[in-house]
Amino acid sequence: MTQFSRFLKLSAISLCVLVPCAHGARVPQRIDIKQLSKTVEDVVVPLPNEIFGALNKLGAVNWKEYVRSDKGINFTERPRIALLLGTVIADGFVAVQAEDAPAVKEIGQRVLTLAKGIGVGNSITPHAKAIIEAADKRNWDDVRQELDRTQNSVQQAMNEVHDEKLSQLVSLGGWLRGTEVLTSVVTKHFSVDGAELLHQPDLLSYFQTKLHAMPEFQLPIIREIESALVQVKPLIDVGDARIPPESVRKVNEITTRLGNGIVTKDQDT
C-alpha cells in the first residue's frame, strides 16, 4: 500500500512536470505568416498607457509637463468630436501618469460632454462618475481601468448604431495624442529603446486603410491626418534598423501639428 501510494505520488509529480512540457512540445517553433493572411484579425489599438508604461521603465518622466489644459472647443461635426474624444481620453492617461487629480476630474467631465455631443452620453455617464470618484481617492489603477472602459463603451455604443468609422476616429485621436507625447518625451531624453517604441508600422497601415475608407468625411483635419501619416510611415517603418533622433523629432513635429489641429477649429469651416 505504501509502495502504491508512493507510485501514485510519483505519477502525479511526473504528470505535473510533463503537462507544461507537453504544452510547449507540440508547438511549432516557426510558422509561415503568409499562409495566415486570410485568417488575420485586425489589431486592437493599444491604449496610450501601454506605451507610457514602457516609457516609464526607461527612466523617470516628468509627466506633469505633458498634462494639457486646452481640451478643445465644442465642435458640431461628429467626426471632429470623435477625434477630439480619443485625444481627451489619451490626455486622461497622461494626467493619471502625472497623478494630477484636478486634471483627471476635468477630463472626466469633458469626456462626458463630448460623448453627449456624439450621442453616446448615456453609456458614458457611469464611467465619467467613476473616473471622478477614483481621482478624488487618488486610486490611479481604477482611473486607468475606467478610462479604458470609457473608450470601450463609447466605441461599443458607436458600433451598435453602425458608426464604426467614428469609433475608429476615437482610436486614431488617442493614438495621435499618445504618439505626440511619446515623441516629446523621447526627443527631450533620447534613447534607442525609447525611439523603438515608435516602431508601429502595422498600426499606422491600419489607420491609413481606415482613413482611406472615409471619403465621406470631407473635413480638412481628416485629410491632413491622412497625408501626414504618409510622411510618418517611412520614419517609423525601418525594419530592423534603429529609429534615429531626427526621425523622432520629425514625428513629434507632425503629431504636434495634428494635435493642435484636432483641438482648434479649421480656418475654412
Binding site: P28, I31, E41, R149, S153
Partner: protein, 149 residues
C-alpha cells in the same frame, strides 16, 4: 475586424457555473469571454491591467485564427483564451513578425481556457495564434483578452 466584439462582461464563478450548464445552442462569444476573464483574474492581483477590448468568434475543430497585435518592448503581456464548450481543447501561442515562436515557456491550457505569456524582445507586430484543437461541437466560440504590466 469582423468577429471582434466590444462587449463588457465581467466573469464570476457562479456565472461561469451557470454558463457551463447552459445548452450550447444558447451560448455565445460573451460566454467564452467570461472564461477568458476568469483565467485573467489571478494575474490582475499581480499588477496586470486587462484590456476591455477583446477578439472573439467561432471556429471548427482544428481551425486556427491569427490575431495581429502591436507589443512594446519593456512591457510584459499575457493573452488568455476562453471557450464555454465543455471538453473542447483550445490553445494560444505567440509568434513574432518573422513567424518565430516568441512566447515564454510558462503558457498553459486547462479546461475552458488557455494562456500564453510574452516579454517582447523588440517593439513591433506579433501574431497571436488561436486554435481549437478538438471540440465536441461543430463550431466552438472563442474569446481572447490580454493584459499588460
Amino acid at each position: 475586424m469582423n468577429s471582434r466584439v466590444n462587449v463588457l462582461l465581467r466573469g464570476s464563478f457562479p456565472l461561469l457555473v451557470i454558463l457551463a450548464l447552459r445548452p450550447a445552442a444558447f451560448a455565445s462569444v460573451d460566454d467564452a469571454q467570461s472564461f477568458a476573464l476568469q483565467a485573467a483574474e489571478p494575474y490582475v492581483k499581480e499588477g496586470f491591467q486587462v484590456r476591455e477590448d477583446y477578439w472573439g468568434g467561432d471556429l471548427g475543430a482544428e481551425e486556427k485564427k491569427a490575431v495581429r497585435q502591436q507589443l512594446f518592448k519593456g512591457n510584459e503581456y499575457w493573452f488568455w483564451l476562453g471557450t464555454e464548450v465543455d471538453r473542447a481543447k483550445i490553445s494560444v501561442h505567440i509568434y513574432d513578425s518573422d513567424g518565430k515562436l516568441a512566447e515564454e515557456p510558462d503558457g498553459w491550457d486547462k479546461g475552458h481556457s488557455a494562456a500564453a505569456h510574452i516579454i517582447p524582445k523588440t517593439t513591433g507586430s506579433y501574431f497571436i495564434i488561436v486554435s481549437i484543437e478538438k471540440s465536441p461541437e461543430e463550431r466552438t466560440h472563442w474569446a481572447l483578452v490580454y493584459g499588460f504590466r
